[in-house]
Subunit: 239 residues, 6 copies
């Protein structure tokens, strides 16, 4: 039995709330159970130096955690004077995941930055962030479409969402919360598209190495879980 | 007429929502109209070096803004590698304001850090933060009282709240929103206790210098506004 | 009786020595008793990015303390790798105070930076710095006038000076030295113009909150003290 | 045909040269073709704070590149004042990979740091680093064994090595060099043990998402490649 | 003829003013012509980690320049967030020079830090700083002697002073000012003791390399110049 | 007898290996006994701001040490977030030494950066670096000559090499290794040209001051040693 009483292939309650920011061009408060991430997409009429005069745009992400999003207060990164290696890893992952479904040529020479700030953490913050960031990005593109800047459907090639899986107490399970994550032997994050293509897979043996069979089981759970998450994205986006 | 149609002495709709963080010992989501600040109090069993073995504790605050809390996206301070002068000014002010109503001896050798993170900004973030931080601090002390660590009533000597006032279009007004703040000739922040004592006053002429009479008018507005804010604190804290 | 034997409304001996730097366009060594601040104004033919092509100039200030300006040696900020929150607060205050009496349009697209470096500290360094920085700025503008760049009288709209007041041993006193400052219940800094307008007021209760009556008493002391300081500025500037 | 004329399942020439540092307790210069990484293991009689008095040790890694290891000179990270996100990601990966085959209890309260410095880069620097770092770590443990500090066989539970695979020109290939890496549609890094367990898998779609079948093909190539690398480790270590 | 009309072997007017700081245990305002450096010695009852429990003390120095000490305003190092390579070179040189005449065992486990801050620069700031720092250090030790902490004569083994020489317009000259320094073909700094021993010599060819004969000529000038500086130190110290 | 059994005027075995980097325009692995430094010259078509549109180029150097180049592992400067004062001193010295033999006008508006990374240290890393950096620079200019960009002979005015000398056990010796360097009373570094001109001399008394006679002895050793080093440069460069 999982600590949360969920079935091995059961997601936590998922919610995707659009339009939560008065200022951002697109925004989404995503909840995977007690993990809450505020995603805000900002449009800027500039691109990184290496894209100037290429006609192509850029989509990037930044990630942060409020100091008391976690059980123990963590040091504020702004006060520490730098972002941790973990923070940088996660924000690079979110950016790559979003770009996997974006046609940068169709976006034009503009940059969209999606800020993903963890308000409360209970495991799976990066996968929730990716899932919510897609909604914020989609709404930002819709905002641009109403202003005649782009066609959202031309920029967004597919949906993208993410989920974690792991081997907990010897058993493959979907969408680990903090309690399971801390005790898991293996922990893997999957990012996939609405059509089932794999965008990113990151698996780590926390204790014993894992086998191909175990990887296959995790992949199977992830495919089913991400399909549900994409359905939720479609439902809230009305598409 | 004010842009928001409010009377000169009218606060924006105020809300103080307790217990919004699953992890923090005390927390409060404070809203002054469209300015929303999440305040989370964290208890730690340690004190700054200069207080070791004095029997006295410490209360401090940190302040931050989500990058897209504002109309234009601002650079993330953690990415920039330092906190701005403005951020440091504000967090020092919040800390001083809270300590003004705390008996550090009665707290004992422990530190409470109140993180004030601006989720959405529309003027007056520092005054909202002080007002909400008091509620989070009070709840943190209540949490400690249930564990026999302190008597809340012995630690908290009074209530404390804050509001901004300014001269806008030639007229003294209470609780400026961003639109008024940007256009104000004079901008002042007041921090006062429940018994009406002044804890901090910071007034700045943005354009023309102001007179003693104008300062008096602002002070009068602030006294009335802060009295209402303290009433709201008492109402939500059930005291 | 004050530790320094001064009357409650008595300034420390004030001296404003012009032309102390061989290189700066304007300079002033200001002394408020044992507090000595070297103020040097530097003219640069550039403005911050947001002012380019606006026809307007900028006046700003930087503040520092020699490590052994104080009773205990303090860590050198350049070695620590950053300016403290206190330093940033003070230099922002000096800059705002000077700009309050400058017509940035009449200055033209140039920047004047006034460096205020505390050679020796005995309380009131920020108020001495503002008072001396005005003299350095005025001499810098005179230097420019002799080169046909501006009319000083068109750029400088008024005089500006500053003083601290506080409640010490239950009594309102003017121009606190370090001994009084450390023991004061309330500490306030006032910046005013030659015509008596208030540019900035910052009052903080160090211990008990203060009342409106006490604030009024401090304001009265400040008005009289600043009037004397402006007289000294006029005397040394020969205006 | 691959640019390097290799077969799809063919590694670049691999060399593992032990004892290349006069000072380090263990060292290895690893070459995967034109990618050369110097790995040096340093023993220190201290552990990170969270392991004090637990009887457990720690193994960690740091990664760097000489500025001209690459085709274009890169900025020196020490001069830039920080390590890039990429550097931090890689050194965290190397550390996790080594710890996967180490019994930290058997190591005792000591830390081994393996510095992996890229002398010349041609793709696959992180996988070469892991493969060479294992040899340096093994030699460091042998050095300790001759001094009666540990039993190497008790500390090292298995071998560990790593290789990259990718889909290049539509075809799964093993051990990508820089030319292939830049053009690959999918790029994955695999870390496995001598017994074939998976320690870490990181796959990224650079362009189009990839399928489960493609992931399986890459995994198959990696298993065979890593088996060869482990054979080389055994050969040079004489075990 | 030198720009300053001095003879080739003529120092600028030298002044050493003791006791200029109200707080420091020893202080000296040193002037080499228009180069003015404030030297303040601070005693602290602690030593760097590597000297703990050795019975030996430490003497070190820090160096800084006010931003407008020079003809063009320089960026404040505290604002830039780091000390330049030049600053670090100079402060290391001052520290080594002072330690050359100090018996660290006789000092006991304490640290003296001499802050050398350039108030106004006209070439030769590092040599003026060393010469003045010796006076500040000597007075700090006298302060300690009056409190029975050390015998100054036991700690100070000799005098130490410094001067620059250079080849200007083809001719060896003593004590270069800024104008000469900028145009010198060769620039050398000499640090010597009262008994004529060489503590440090740093010579640099700015344009053409120099010969042994030229080095000899510079060394001869330096010996005579430093002898005069040591005489001035003795005169002001009354020894 | 020297610890290494060398004669007082005997260099360690010297080797200069060209073309060790696949990517750099010029490179050299220099060995002075157990001190090994990899020097890589990188050509860039840009110059520092102050040289723009002057027609002149720039030659500069950066210096680093692998963390375990030394007997005890040192902290990685990239991880520490800054270069030490020692590192900055050395890289400034290398840059000045190279520029002493370069005609920056003949180079044209381009920059050559020579990275000197210490792979293994046993004393004399800066002198080995200068000697090897000259070879890398020369090869970079040869690379440019084959592309018609410059005439190497027009850019390089002379050879430049460096060596350390010191007084060890009371006796002047050439080219100190780490063991001698740690115990030397006086330590001096000399940089000279092929024609015997002095480019830089830096001598420091570690213990007792040294005399002119001792300096002369060191200078004599250095002249002979550098002549041998320049012969080796000529031999490997085939000139």
């Amino acid at each position: 039995m999982r600590p949360s009483k969920r079935q091995p292939d059961e997601l936590r309650p998922v919610s995707l709330e659009r339009g939560v920011s008065r200022h951002a061009e697109g925004s989404c408060l995503v909840k995977f159970g007690d993990t809450h991430v505020l995603c805000a997409a900002s449009l800027e009429e500039r691109v990184p130096g290496w894209l100037k005069n290429t006609g192509k745009g850029w989509v990037t992400a930044e990630y942060g955690m409020l100091p008391r999003a976690t059980g123990e207060r963590m040091r504020r990164e702004a006060a520490a004077g730098k972002q941790s290696g973990r923070t940088q890893e996660i924000q690079r992952l979110i950016g790559r995941s979003l770009r996997a479904v974006v046609d940068l040529q169709a976006l034009g020479e503009r940059q969209i930055t999606v800020d993903c700030d963890v308000i409360q953490a209970d495991g799976g913050t990066r996968t929730a962030a990716i899932t919510g960031a897609f909604v914020a990005l989609s709404d930002c593109l819709a905002w641009m479409e109403t202003r005649g800047m782009v066609k959202r459907a031309a920029v967004l090639k597919d949906h993208v969402a993410a989920v974690s899986c792991g081997i907990h107490a010897g058993k493959p399970v979907l969408d680990l919360d903090y309690l399971e994550d801390s005790a898991a032997e293996t922990d893997a994050n999957f990012v996939m598209t609405g059509r089932g293509g794999i965008v990113e897979i990151q698996g780590t043996a926390e204790g014993e190495p894992f086998s191909r069979a175990e990887l296959d089981a995790l992949l199977g759970l992830a495919e089913a879980g991400i399909a549900q998450l994409v359905d939720r994205q479609k439902a809230v986006l009305g598409a």
